[in-house]
């Protein structure tokens, strides 16, 4: 049986490091799909505030995260004592196109 797909989208609200057009387009594609997902204003802020929701967001399942560099996301979770599952896939909206990120995000789990 395939694990349910869990999608987490980071809007990087408090900085301009993710191109606006990319994050808006990824969000549009997500909201227009029929995939349920969680969206957070800023993963950095959640990590800084030790938000307990991060543990829940990283809970088991087939997790895909649209944010920035995978190394940054991994250690932001680690900073609150949460290990991202090895199967978690982090998609980089700083470097990749909205098309590429959205396609991977919405791909059904293997």
């Amino acid at each position: 049986m395939t694990k349910p797909l869990r999608v987490l989208y980071c809007h990087c609200t408090y900085a301009n490091v993710v191109p606006k057009a990319t994050k808006e387009e990824v969000l549009r594609r997500l909201t227009e799909s029929d995939v349920p997902f969680d969206a957070v204003p800023d993963l950095c802020e959640m990590s800084a505030k030790k938000d307990p929701a991060l543990a829940d967001l990283a809970a088991d399942g087939c997790l895909k995260i649209a944010a920035c560099y995978p190394r940054a996301v991994k250690w932001l979770f680690h900073a609150v004592g949460v290990k991202l599952p090895d199967t978690a896939e982090v998609l980089n909206m700083r470097t990749d196109t909205a098309d590429a990120v959205a396609a991977k995000l919405l791909e059904p789990p293997a």
Binding site: R28, E32, A39, A72, W75, H78
Partner: protein, 293 residues
């Protein structure tokens, strides 16, 4: 009181009473949002600093561990304004059929206030994040930072006071010889989390050599440089060749470390710098000694 709708509410132990999440709900008992409306609503909620779960027919988007959940939907049945689950999560319902995204966000803000949940602080989340796959626990960051951002727990370096970090200042990441300190919101790699190349590591160790040339006390040196810049007599006083050279080197170093002018401005007095630097250094030495034994 039980919840009339099948929401994702299996609840682990409460961890934060201040948690607040908005569910854009399309499950049982609600009609789907038109796509454009859904996009506009989620975008506006995020811009307001609110976390959102989009719940599709039959779907669930994670659990709220504690605090309050606001469910926005086009409900087909009457919903209570407010209900509490057995696990202590407060659930609020608001019908947003016919409302614009801005009006729905306004409702969310009102509910957040009514639930006594503070508005998120307007703070750019800027703080160091350690990549422990690279960190060798050398304590250079601890002895470098004057603002008590770093600390040691069970012999291991940690970021302990991330709110004391100076916004946009990545200086400690530039003194880390292992390129192990990230600032995810920094402009350039590898400090922003990009892959670290062999060249990056070589460059970083060169920077540390520069700092030891200056006697290790970069802050005092930078402050000194800043004061000199301000002095209208600086040119005459700096006739000494060695000092001139040192200043040139410091200008370059300040640029290399990418320290914003605000950080210079917020540096304490030279005496205080000496005291804090000695304190930080002592902490680092103590941790290194303890780790040896």
């Amino acid at each position: 009181m039980s919840i009339p709708l099948p929401l994702p509410l299996s609840a682990p132990p409460p961890a934060s009473a201040a948690a607040f999440r908005v569910a854009v709900y399309e499950g049982t008992g609600a009609n789907p949002f038109p796509p454009g409306e859904r996009t506009a609503l989620v975008t506006a909620l995020l811009a307001k600093g609110l976390s959102v779960s989009v719940i599709r027919p039959g779907g669930s988007a994670g659990n709220l561990v504690a605090g309050s959940l606001l469910v926005l939907g086009h409900f087909t049945d009457e919903q209570p304004d407010h209900a509490a689950t057995d696990s202590g999560v407060s659930v609020y319902f608001r019908n947003v059929a016919g409302k614009s995204a801005a009006e729905a966000v306004e409702l969310a803000v009102q509910v957040r206030a009514a639930a006594n949940i503070p508005e998120p602080a307007k703070w750019k989340p800027w703080f160091p994040v350690i990549d422990y796959d690279r960190c060798t626990n050398c304590m250079q960051c601890l002895s470098f930072c004057l603002f008590d951002v770093y600390g040691v727990n069970e012999g291991k370096i940690q970021v302990q006071n991330n709110n004391k970090c100076k916004t946009d200042c990545p200086a400690c990441s530039r003194v880390c010889p292992e390129v192990a300190i990230l600032f995810p919101k920094y402009r350039h790699g590898p400090i922003n989390g990009d892959v670290v190349s062999a060249d990056d590591v070589r460059r970083e160790s060169m920077k540390v050599d520069i700092s030891s040339l200056l006697g290790g006390d970069i802050y005092a040196a930078l402050r000194d440089r800043n004061a000199k810049f301000k002095s209208r007599f600086s040119k005459e006083r700096d006739s000494d060749k060695a000092l001139e050279e040192r200043q040139k080197c410091l200008v370059k170093l300040g640029e290399k470390l990418d320290i914003p002018p605000e950080v210079f401005a917020s540096l304490p007095s030279p005496d205080e710098i000496q005291r804090k630097a000695a304190e930080a250094n002592a902490k680092a030495q103590a941790a290194l000694e303890a780790n040896k034994s």
